[in-house]
Point group: C2
Chain length 238, copies 2
Amino acid sequence: MSFRPETLSIIGLGAFGQLAARHLRPHLALTVCDPQVRANDLPQVDLAQAALADIVVLAVPLSRMAGVLRAIAPHLRPGAVVIDVASVKVAPARLMLDLLPPHVQVIASHPLFGPASAAEGLAGHRIAWCPLRGGAHRRIAAFLRAQGLEVIPTTPDQHDRDMAVVQGLTHLIARSLSRLGPLPQRMATRSFQKLAEAAAMVQDDSPELLTTILRDNPHAEGVRSRFLAEAAGIAAGV
Amino acid sequence: MSFRPETLSIIGLGAFGQLAARHLRPHLALTVCDPQVRANDLPQVDLAQAALADIVVLAVPLSRMAGVLRAIAPHLRPGAVVIDVASVKVAPARLMLDLLPPHVQVIASHPLFGPASAAEGLAGHRIAWCPLRGGAHRRIAAFLRAQGLEVIPTTPDQHDRDMAVVQGLTHLIARSLSRLGPLPQRMATRSFQKLAEAAAMVQDDSPELLTTILRDNPHAEGVRSRFLAEAAGIAAGV
């Protein structure tokens, strides 16, 4: 029995929800739901209505996810697909499996790009992909690949292990650099330019995202401690 | 009275000395001097002979600079130009002004590139430029600009302040990352890719260079301490 979605709702119109809306609206009948942000040219619905779509994309901060899941759970249709896009995966996966009824299909995902890095399109960007319940993930993954995305199957725990390094250290280093004040530009080497570019790419990320990456990833603290211990050891040894 | 150099010697054939030889040999009569490294196709001379050139480029580790300066000082001709290329500038500037006779012109420089970053040519690369004694620096800077380099006038102290951030932090971060083991690649974000590229660019630098950058720069320890304190504060605050 093939999954042929016609409607999709996006819950949460932060930076990523807006990016998703822009890319998905040519393909499906789209509704959006956000208590604060207005999308002038898309049908705005409440949570109960958003839950009626074939695919429900949760683009809310992790701190709001349990509340949203409880609100939509009674309204979701059998066979509907719920997909989250948070920057950690262990916690959202557990919440979705615990709080959504068994007749709902579940995918935990993490698009490894944002409005800044995908300004010139989706081609070549990646999305971490954790199918948790149901078979619709195959068809949706094929759709995402057709948009030029590289879909990377993984588990929530492996994702969080990798991201503790990838995002945890990038954000830690970027924030630390930005607190040093203006960086030297005239004298920059190529390698430092890359470092400064990496820092600039993440410095506009929201405080909620930073908290998710640095606190809500169960492996982040361990990786951070090892990195800082290595740096302190190098500093002490010279 | 115009400075028209015809001969140039390079003392020290490490990674940068070899790079300099490759780019300078079409322009001047070149000799090289190194106790270990052989340059098969360039005249190899001893320190006393190297000191007879119109321009003497010191491409030796900082730890060997005082010894080399004492060895060449009695042989340098009036009006000759001595240029160092070390990655810090306060210490070499002081050594050159203290140990070279007053009839010798002196420039402290720091090419902000190496064999890896200049693999495709010099165009667009930068060199920090501190004229310390004599007027020959103008003609030499004009020559370097004609090779496509951006010549950045600065003082030894300002250079070391900027480089404590630019090189000090890049190397500290790169070495710390490399000690964490293999980095995640499949899940890398664009910003993390830039961070990993920055680390890869400096990880083959010699231990002597690392020591110079992290220990011999008078501002390095202060910058490093501030960076690590900011990072520890962010880590503790999440």
